[in-house]
């Protein structure tokens, strides 16, 4: 069962309405479409998808990144797909000239489309199509100056934990808990799997689509034992604008995370500039190490400092001195989702204000929750 993806501007007074909609949503049918390729990997639509959603409004456009196959000459037709299968075709046009196997299109959300989460479909002239769930989130107005961001990390799907609840149970409980709050979107900062096995990614995706809010996902070191993460989630370094704020997502897999020599350092600067102007920039990554490439540190924490860096990896609360120690950027580390933890952060006019870490209900766990190794 896939929940429908209605979005309502969240505030404390709308929680009951949201809960009612969730109940109604559970009674509605799943998407009658094939999501991604049959094995869960991305197919034509490389972005947006349920880990890198487009956040848009009626009448506004968002970018679609298509991986070309043998249909390069085609003008693809893009549509938003509702839970009942109804399709709304979008105006679209190619953007830029790409040198690689990817092509970019600007798609415009139809004016009368209702708010909520939508599947994105692309059709070719021969009738073949690719669809990704929860790819496009339509808001009827700019997200307010105040909203709540949920942070979940280190869910480790597939981790063998004798005498402790299965990671999928903990992930499900965390999703239910976050869905029941007034969070407007959820950041999931890596180690979504234990060992980057294809089946672990598929199980993660199946649970991810229970979220009733947009989910921004980045990779962790456990997800990068091979190159499969890219097959399931595409780009490692990307950005999204949400109302007045920007989210900058980047990969930090290795010992020398965010190294100075590859393309990421330049991409981060380009994305950082693309997000200007914005009220707050929030960085999402899996971890920070003092050995992190200095070029990336200068870009993120010195020249145009991000306001908040969210990460996990340690399975613990932030310890004194941990995280980037540059002057302005604040850091939040949230303990592991596999241990039942998540955190809500109030994004206010005065700045991001992290709440104390939350935990799924005690009865979720067979035994008292404990901190696991990363």
């Amino acid at each position: 069962m896939v929940l429908t993806l209605q979005y309502f501007p969240h505030s404390h007074s709308t929680i009951s309405l949201t809960a009612l909609m969730l109940v109604m949503a559970c009674l509605m049918p799943a998407h009658p479409t094939f999501a991604r390729a049959e094995d869960g990997t991305l197919y034509w639509i490389w972005s947006p998808h349920d880990g890198q959603p487009a956040l848009s409004q009626p009448g506004r456009s968002f970018e679609v990144l298509l991986r070309e196959t043998d249909h390069t000459a085609d003008q693809p037709v893009f549509s938003l797909v509702a839970a009942d299968g109804t399709e709304y075709t979008m105006d679209s046009k190619p953007v830029g000239t790409e040198q690689s196997i990817f092509r970019r299109y600007a798609c415009t959300v139809p004016p009368a489309i209702r708010p909520g989460g939508w599947a994105l479909r692309v059709r070719r002239s021969d009738g073949t199509a690719d669809t990704t769930r929860r790819a496009v989130w339509v808001f009827d107005e700019e997200p307010a100056a105040y909203y709540v961001l949920a942070h979940l990390t280190d869910v480790h799907i597939g981790k063998h934990r004798p005498s402790l609840p299965d990671p999928e149970i903990m992930f499900s409980a965390a999703i239910d808990a976050i869905n029941s709050t007034d969070a407007a979107l959820c950041a999931i900062t890596g180690d979504i799997t234990e060992s980057a096995e294809p089946e672990q990614f598929r199980r993660f995706l199946a649970l991810l689509d229970r979220f009733t809010i947009p989910t921004l996902v980045c990779s962790g070191n456990h997800d990068r034992n091979n190159l499969l993460y890219e097959q399931f989630f595409g780009m490692q370094t990307w950005a999204r604008r949400f109302g007045p704020d920007g989210f900058l997502v980047f990969d930090t897999k290795d010992y020398v995370v965010a190294d100075d020599w590859g393309p990421q350092a330049g991409t981060l600067y380009e994305l950082r500039r693309l997000l200007r102007p914005c009220r707050y920039t929030i960085g999402l990554t899996h971890r920070f190490e003092v050995s992190m490439g200095m070029r990336t540190q200068l870009t993120l924490f010195v020249d145009d400092p991000i306001d908040l860096l969210l990460y996990g990896h340690t399975h613990q609360e932030r310890r004194p001195g941990e995280g980037p120690s540059w002057g302005r950027s604040e850091t939040v580390i949230t303990p592991a989702g596999v241990d039942g933890y998540y955190r809500l952060i109030d994004i206010t006019a005065q700045g991001p204000v992290p709440r104390p870490v939350s935990r799924v209900p005690e009865n979720t766990a067979a035994k008292p929750l404990s901190v696991s190794e990363n």
Partner: protein
């Protein structure tokens, strides 16, 4: 282990050097990155690295050896190999090294590199190895809590030209001591790191002393973060990047004081001197995407070298005769090495393995 493979020749056009060698990092995953060399005469690639996680290669001044950071036996250290990959050795030290590139002294007998002294809070230091005795010592004394990214000054000429207001103050006394030590043992420039103050400033460093370079040059730098210190081949001027003007620019410290030689609101970084000391190749985002440009240092006139609206170009490095620039571009969808002649504009793909990064041209040798 050294392996040899023949590069694909069919993609090689006419605008390629007919001699010379570049070293670079090959491999997408950091854990699989390995130092490799490409020879333009034979058009062959040789894997010469050792261990895993190889960092950017740095040639010895005579072009006979290559130094790079690497993970060997579960420790991050500085590895040195001959140009053909033979006789690999890892320089001994108790601490992990940081991936700032190791730097050779002008006579090729010593190597300096950043080491990690602590993590919470992070602290860095400078290790200097004597390759003939295998001895290692920490440089910089106790002036700064954290020093990193050292580079050898090719000469002490610039240091001798530094003046101080009062011959009696503590800075002057330290400078005199530092000069004496530099004449005997050489001098490094490195970065003193104060992250809580968002400050990273260049310092002159000897075995037991360290002094703020920009302070001595009478340039206020209390609120800026410098990086990428690059002395020219004779040690008469130092290029570096800094946000002292509000955005990241490239400055040159030399006979005219400190001069901004890039001057654009988009970031300018990674300066590389031409062999004749007249030009700096650098990376800039002034065209929207990362590209390679030249600055004629005397006039700060800027010339594009490798710039595109559709792909990035970065990591420039000059051939020893100054006729070619090698750089990395993702024009083909993944980072590859290209070469071009600075005045030409057309670049040619060097047929190396996929994911080729951090090219370094082999010096002519002596």
């Amino acid at each position: 282990m050294t392996s040899i493979w023949i590069a694909a020749l069919m993609t090689v056009g006419t605008a390629m050097p007919d001699s010379g060698t570049i070293a670079f990092i090959s491999g997408e995953e950091q854990s699989k990155r390995i130092v490799t060399v490409y020879d333009f005469a034979s058009r062959q690639c040789h894997t010469v690295g050792t261990g895993s996680h190889n960092g950017p290669p740095v040639w010895s001044p005579d072009g006979s050896r290559i130094a790079f950071t690497a993970l060997v036996n579960d420790r991050y250290g500085v590895a040195v190999v001959n140009a053909d990959g033979t006789e690999p050795r890892v320089l001994p030290i108790d601490q992990d090294v940081v991936d700032d590139p190791p730097r050779w002294s002008a006579d090729g007998t010593r190597i300096a590199c950043s080491i990690l002294l602590g993590t919470m809070p992070p602290r860095f230091g400078i290790a200097v190895w004597n390759l003939e005795t295998n001895a290692v010592e920490r440089w910089g004394g106790e002036t700064y809590p954290s020093l990193r990214a050292p580079v050898w000054m090719p000469s002490v000429g610039l240091l001798m030209a530094v003046d101080v207001e009062s011959q009696q103050d503590a800075t002057a006394k330290t400078l005199f001591a530092l000069r004496d030590e530099a004449e005997k043992s050489g001098v490094l420039i490195a970065l003193a790191w104060f992250p809580d103050k968002t400050l990273m400033e260049p310092a002159l460093v000897t075995a037991s002393e360290a002094l703020p370079l920009l302070y001595l040059a009478k340039v206020p730098s209390e609120r800026s973060a410098e990086w990428n210190l690059q002395p020219d081949i004779k040690g008469r001027q130092i290029a570096f990047e800094s946000d002292m003007g509000g955005d990241r620019e490239i400055y040159v410290l030399g006979k005219r004081g400190v001069v901004n030689v890039t001057n654009h609101p988009a970031a300018d970084w990674t300066p590389r001197w031409s062999p004749d000391g007249k030009y700096l190749a650098f990376e800039s985002f002034r065209n929207g995407r990362r590209g390679v440009y030249l600055s004629l240092v005397e006039t700060a006139r800027i010339t594009p070298v490798a710039v595109s609206e559709s792909w990035d170009c970065w990591s420039p490095d000059w051939s020893p005769d100054g006729k070619w620039i090698a750089f990395v571009s993702n024009r083909e969808g993944k980072p590859s090495i290209h070469v071009c002649q600075p005045e030409d504009g057309d670049s040619e793909l060097v047929p190396t393995a996929s994911w080729a990064l951090a090219p370094a041209w082999r010096p002519k040798g002596k």
